[in-house]
Amino acid sequence: MQYLLLIYDQESQWGKLSETEQGKMYQEYGDFTQSITKSGHYIGGNQLHPVAKATTVRVRDGKKVITDGPFAETKEQLGGYYMVEAKDLDDAVAIASRIPSARFGSIEVRPIVAREGPRP
């Protein structure tokens, strides 16, 4: 089964970390990504620019409405994601719990809707 692991944490906290601490986080992320690649779980993943760089698009009555910022102001912001292959929810949760940000943020584990393959 495929899951999206959505990484939420308080962006404001990142700025408070020293350069050394930030470097350590990147290292941990690198190690983590490597390890789930090796174990065959990794499908994809990315860090995202902070929500200040986000743009939200809505189309209403045929009109495109573009606003600066995320879709909603939230206490924790989406900072990145992993897409993984896991045998079941427990497997996906185990992976998610190893994401470095899990220690102070929240990781949402979302199952991806399976689409039919080509008909026989």
Partner: protein, 412 residues
């Protein structure tokens, strides 16, 4: 044994096995229903089979193949077809006792998975393991039927779509996950135990179901001391079921209960289990509560109750599971043991902290202690305070009687 009885006792087990074989809650449920329909049709004619359970599992499996075949025809899903051929190849076998037990254990842990909302865990457990109908569960929890049905549907959909696995957790997680399972069982028991309104009969059945689940857990996990303790606790509480209310449904307090109506065998079993659990080192909340219940159960008359021990146990319980309610109970035990004045002081402190605002048992307990001390006026005031907070008819009538009693003492 009638088919209804077999349904009550076996449907959970058969469902568990079919879920394992089919990997699908809904399909398994449909198959169980159809298997029992087939039984209702065939058994009166052909006589009850030697092994009804095996017959039903076999019938369920065959029905599932039919269902898949019908679905596959309409949906042409490759997965379904693959599963079909796998099923067809399985040699017909008599399910072994151990395998059936493992299946039920897997099922309990699945129903109590932390990814499911608590309000879904409890009904799902009752529905799939105890064979209660959605109507019965809705009535028991005083929830509208469509709401309860929706909760169950959503829970099963989540199990399917989020990939909640059907298995007993690995050792590292077992203790934590077992905690949730025990809590769910305890919640079921409490719903039944505290039933004084609504459909009393159905809610009383909940105690029976909870005890059955408790027995199952204890049987399947004999090393789990807290599971043993929970079973003991439930048995001890339940042993008093016929003494807790008068014929007209009025509350009878513990010290006023006719102890000859307590169920001796259940007490005996409960005491044994408590001793074993404690001997095994269990010191968690269920073990401590069981020990307290055991002390009450061992007193042949209220005067023989070992209140000092009970107070000491409540102190331990406060460390395990700190809560103002536990503090309240401890205060009462202290008062009953020796020091009514000290007990009152503890209750007053609780009142001051404001943790139990709106909880009628706090002023009611104060009222009770004041009554024992002969402070009629103060007791009346406390009972009157409690009356403002009470929600339940039987409890209201009880407090009204107390107020009248106090008025009588003052006047007389």
């Amino acid at each position: 044994m009638t088919i209804e009885q077999i349904y009550r006792e076996e449907s959970g087990r058969i469902l568990a096995t079919l879920i394992r074989l089919l990997g699908d809650f809904d399909l398994a449920e449909e198959a169980v229903q159809e298997a029992f329909s087939a039984a209702v049709e065939h058994w009166p004619r052909e006589g009850m089979p030697a092994n009804p359970r095996a017959w039903l599992v076999s019938a369920g499996r065959n029905k599932a193949v039919d269902l898949l075949r019908r679905r596959a025809w309409f949906e042409a899903k490759r997965d379904e077809l693959a599963r079909l051929s796998a099923l067809a190849e399985e040699v017909s076998e008599t399910p072994e006792e151990s395998m059936l037990n493992d299946d039920r254990l897997r099922l309990i842990f699945t129903c109590c998975h932390p990814a499911l909302a608590r309000e879904a865990q409890v009904p799902l457990t009752l529905r799939t393991l105890c064979g209660l109908s959605t109507e019965e569960i809705a009535r028991a929890f005083l929830v509208p039927l469509p709401t309860m049905a929706q909760r169950l549907v959503r829970a099963k959909q989540k199990i399917r779509d989020a990939g909640i696995p059907y298995r007993v957790p690995a050792d590292e997680e077992l203790t934590e996950r077992l905690e949730t399972v025990l809590l769910v069982v305890y919640l079921v028991f409490n719903e039944g135990y505290n039933a004084t309104s609504g459909d009393v009969l159905v809610r009383r059945e909940l105690c029976g179901e909870a005890i059955r689940l408790g027995r199952l857990l204890h049987k399947l996990m004999p090393e789990a001391a807290e599971a043993e303790a929970l079973l003991a606790l439930m048995l001890l509480h339940d042993s008093r079921r016929d003494a807790r209310a008068s014929a007209s449904g009025e509350i009878v307090l513990l010290e006023e209960q006719d102890r000859s109506k307590w169920h001796g065998e259940q007490i005996h079993e409960g005491l044994e289990l408590t001793e074993r659990a404690l001997g095994r080192g269990a010191r968690g909340p269920y073990a401590l509560q069981a020990a307290i219940a055991a002390l009450h159960a061992q007193a042949r008359r209220p005067e023989e109750t070992d209140w000092h021990q009970i107070a000491a146990l409540y102190e331990l319980l406060m460390q395990e599971q700190p809560s103002p309610v536990v503090e309240l109970n401890r205060a009462v035990a202290v008062a009953m043991g020796s020091d009514a004045a000290e007990g009152l002081r503890l209750l007053d402190a609780l009142e001051e902290r404001g943790d139990l605002k709106g909880y009628y048992l706090l002023p009611a307990a104060r009222g009770d202690l004041l009554r024992r001390m002969g402070s009629w006026k103060a007791a009346e005031g406390a009972f009157a305070d409690a009356l403002l907070l009470v929600a339940n008819d039987a409890e209201r009538r009880f407090l009204e009687r107390r107020v009248a009693e106090m008025k009588g003492k003052i006047g007389g």
